[in-house]
């Protein structure tokens, strides 16, 4: 059955090719086209495409830059907060807390402070 269908469609294309073969320009065609070309202005596609691409690029780049800036500022603020927090605690408080909770001492606490305990 498949072979029959294939034969049928091959025959279809063969006949289609045959019945669509005879399109030819008439003798006056070239002259008609030449006369209609006179009023056609020339345009340069690539330049227009480039301009379109440029104006499309600006908002896209601005959006990407804004997102990157947000993440950068956010990371700086959170790092700053964490660092400030560690420095706001006095070494004594840190060591006291470490003794109570049994955790290790913050690395910023100097040896001299540890000795005082």
């Amino acid at each position: 059955m498949e072979a029959k269908r294939k034969k049928e469609i091959d025959r279809f294309f063969e006949l289609y090719k045959e019945v669509t073969e005879n399109s030819q320009p008439d003798p006056g065609f070239t002259e008609r086209v030449i006369s209609s070309l006179k009023n056609t202005p020339s345009e340069r596609i690539p330049e227009r495409e480039k301009r379109r691409g440029f104006w499309f690029f600006i908002p896209s780049a601005a959006a990407v830059a804004a997102v990157l800036l947000f993440f950068y500022v956010h990371s700086r603020v959170t790092t700053k907060k964490a660092m400030d927090y560690s420095f706001l605690l006095s070494p004594e408080v840190v060591v006291e807390e470490a003794i109570q909770t049994g955790s290790s001492v913050h690395p910023f606490v100097g040896y001299d402070v540890l000795e005082s305990f």
Binding site: L15, S23, P25, D26, F29, T30, V33, T40, S42, E43
Partner: protein, 189 residues
């Protein structure tokens, strides 16, 4: 020797005349694959030359002018087919019993079509192809009738090779289904 493309870019009248005379026959044959009426074929080719002239500054050095003209013509044909598609009703249902009989007879025969029957055959074939999307129709005509490979079809129509293959497969399947519906009884299916 001056590059012919350079002369075309400059808008040289003689260069354009030679170019039109040289590529017109192949463009007429190409457009004739999609349109039956002579006026439609001529409109498509003329519009293609107008677009070629309009965008002559975009001709790149070393580019095959024939291929460029063919690509522009196909684009015009696609636009025209898209425009026609909107105004077309369901094409398969519009086939008359006589047309279905002619189709059955022609597909059964192994000899070439006669001149009298080729006139109505064209209408029948167009109705069959009209129910494909314009792009699928172009892909199947270029590959099955013009003999281009999927890669060449992709380049000519500005689509990927994979897309060209997929569209060809889909179009052939749709056509096969339509032919089965119309002529199935004669094959005893």
């Amino acid at each position: 020797m001056i590059d012919p493309a350079e002369k075309l870019r400059e808008g040289d009248k003689d260069a354009w005349k030679n170019f039109i005379e040289k590529v017109s026959p192949s463009l007429f044959r190409l457009a004739g694959r999609f349109f039956k009426r002579k006026e439609e074929v001529e409109d498509a080719v003329q519009e293609a030359f107008l677009r070629c002239y309009k965008y002559r500054n975009s001709i790149k050095k070393g580019l095959s002018l024939d291929t460029w003209a063919r690509k522009v013509t196909l684009r015009v044909c696609y636009d025209m087919l898209e425009g026609m598609k909107k105004s077309q009703a369901a094409s398969l249902s519009s086939l008359t019993p006589e047309e279905i009989e002619v189709l059955r007879g022609s597909l059964r025969e192994n000899t070439g079509s006669t001149v009298e029957s080729s006139v109505s055959l064209r209408d029948i074939f167009d109705k069959l192809l009209d129910h494909l999307s314009p792009m699928d129709r172009m892909v199947v005509v270029l590959s099955e009738i013009e003999g281009f490979t999927a890669k060449e079809v992709g380049k000519l129509l500005g689509i990927s090779t994979a897309s060209a293959k997929m569209r060809r497969f889909r179009a052939k399947k749709q056509l096969s289904k339509a032919l089965k519906e119309l002529t199935g009884d004669t094959h005893g299916s």
